[in-house]
């Protein structure tokens, strides 16, 4: 009886793994298709669609745009998030709970609605659609995340560490640069990394707020209009590969930085 239950459990786990991996395997497999349709039977392997992607100026410039928006908006998010988390954690401010709630509020609102709001505002104020506009939207969604992560890590122990530094004669800016930032580095890093991945993958805000120059997810979306196409498989597989490399890299570096 026990053995049957165990067997059933393992079969179940394998089935779920299968479900989770099915679309990814299909995606990658048919990116190597030699013919023009990413459907069975498999005719590859061939790298022609990867060549097509890399020689497509629209896709490569969208990739650069995406990276730029992701890095810059994440830097802005993590900086604003860190400073505000530090301010709220270290000082007694009137209405602190309310203000903290305000900063984290965008976390509970759909990207679509945030994007809509910015679209209406920018339209009304005459701000043209651009990558900067999309970047602003990305900071709106990632700032609360960075704030929440960093704020949650600023415990009493950190407060005492900063006190010790002040007690030993460090000026406020030295406490910040020499103590707080290095000690909070894992949380800052985590906030930055998460912001990067969310911005990198964000579609609807970029879709609403950019026009000619746009980000990779929007460009992929444009590709989709031409129906099933191994080129889309190839670009999707490339994005996936880059993400995996990044995840493994961060996983290893974060694991190595095990705090005491």
């Amino acid at each position: 009886m026990r053995a049957i239950v165990r067997l059933a459990a393992w079969l179940y786990a394998i089935a779920i793994y299968g479900f989770i991996f099915l679309p990814v395997v299909v995606l990658v497999l048919f990116s190597l298709q030699a013919t023009s349709f990413p459907i069975p039977p498999f005719t590859g392997p061939s790298l022609r669609w990867y060549q097509a992607v890399l020689s497509d100026a629209r896709l490569t410039s969208a990739l650069v745009n995406s990276l730029l928006v992701a890095v810059l908006s994440s830097l802005a998010s993590v900086t604003l998030g860190f400073l505000s988390a530090w301010g709220f954690a270290r000082f007694v401010l009137p209405g602190s709970a309310f203000l903290r709630g305000l900063i984290t509020l965008p976390l509970t609102v759909s990207y679509l609605i945030i994007g809509m709001g910015l679209l209406v505002l920018f339209n009304w104020a005459g701000v043209p659609k651009s990558l900067v506009a999309a970047g602003i939207g990305h900071v709106v969604i990632n700032l609360p995340l960075c704030f929440a992560i960093i704020y949650s890590q600023m415990g009493d122990h950190q407060i005492n560490i900063e006190r010790a530094a002040r007690d030993l004669g460090a000026a406020e800016w030295k406490v910040l640069l020499m103590i707080t930032v290095p000690v909070m580095a894992p949380a800052i890093f985590a906030g930055f990394f998460l912001s990067m991945t969310f911005s990198w993958d964000e579609f609807v805000i970029s879709f609403l707020l950019t026009r000619f120059e746009t980000t990779l997810p929007v460009e992929i979306w444009n590709l989709l209009r031409s129906g099933l196409n191994p080129k889309t498989n190839a670009v999707g597989s490339l994005v996936f590969a880059v993400s995996i490399v990044l995840v493994v890299f961060f996983e290893l570096t974060l694991l190595r930085r095990k705090p005491a």
Partner: protein, 281 residues
């Protein structure tokens, strides 16, 4: 005790003001703009409540909201039912040293682009896609099934994503449980089934509620998955909103529909707040 060595009053405000200003300028203000916009007429401007009344009068708009709620409810329930046993197997049956790897694998497709993920399901579910070819190949069916552009496709795409997300959160929840709870229950004579029902499940329930709420919010506001997989046969709210902008540039109506969608999410939040609070305490 939040007493600080610094006596400066200006410093704390200098730290928090940029983030607050950003939130006010690019989150609160757009919201107000959207509110105003939703109360103006698309043709010729002027104050009107027509954008809201249109939603309540036009049954196709209603239908989109009902579709959204139905899809979201189905996705949330199926995802939890699939993810909980899976997370439990990972946490309880997989040897400790392999758990991290097993979990990383289980959420690996998380890192594909979100547009690409839906597209991948299209490859699987298309008329001449993998599933139809496989089924006709082995002779189970004669004619290919209509799988893409259906509610089933939308739900499949969503469930794929949320099973990964919920596996992560439920796994974390199960690992947080001190093993002594289970030992204590076993010590007091409870079998594995009763231990699970009376100890493990109630203790992980708050975490499940948080995961369910997250699923609800992300699912009901998503445009990509229903647009790619469900197509235009059965619209959900985000598709309706985007349609107003894309086809007709009707910002006021799109604003009104966005606000209605947000109101529904807020009501759901208030309904769940009781359970979500348990988690925080």
């Amino acid at each position: 005790m939040s007493v600080s060595g610094s006596n400066s009053r200006a410093l704390p405000w200098a730290l928090v003001t940029p983030a607050l200003a950003w939130t006010l300028l690019f989150f609160v203000l757009p919201f107000i703009a959207m509110g105003f916009s939703s109360l103006t007429a698309h043709e010729g401007g002027g104050f009107t409540s027509a954008n809201y009344s249109q939603f309540f009068i036009d049954p196709s708009y209603w239908r989109a909201m009902v579709n959204s709620l139905e899809v979201t409810a189905i996705v949330t329930v199926i995802s939890i039912l699939l993810a909980y046993p899976f997370a439990w197997i990972l946490a309880e049956m997989v040897p400790e040293r392999w758990q991290r790897l097993a979990l990383m694998l289980a959420v690996l497709p998380f890192w594909t682009s979100y547009v690409v993920r839906s597209y991948s399901w299209l490859l699987v579910l298309a008329q001449n896609g993998v599933i139809n070819r496989a089924l006709t190949g082995i002779g189970v069916i004669g004619e290919p099934l209509q799988l893409a552009n259906t509610r089933l496709a939308t739900v499949t795409g969503f469930v794929h994503f949320f099973v990964m997300l919920l596996t992560l959160t439920i796994f974390a929840n199960l690992k947080q449980l001190s093993p002594s709870y289970r030992k204590a229950a076993a010590d007091l004579g409870a079998g594995p089934v009763r231990t699970f029902l009376h100890v493990v499940l109630p203790l992980t329930l708050p975490g499940i509620m948080v995961g369910a709420f997250l699923t609800f919010v992300l699912c009901i506001g998503d445009y990509i998955t229903p647009q790619i997989l469900g197509g235009n046969n059965e619209l959900v709210m985000p598709q309706l909103v985007m349609m107003q902008i894309g086809r007709r540039g009707d910002f006021p109506l799109a604003s009104a529909l966005s606000i209605i969608l947000m109101a529904v999410v807020t009501i759901a939040y208030l309904a769940c707040a009781r359970w979500l609070k348990i988690e925080r305490a």
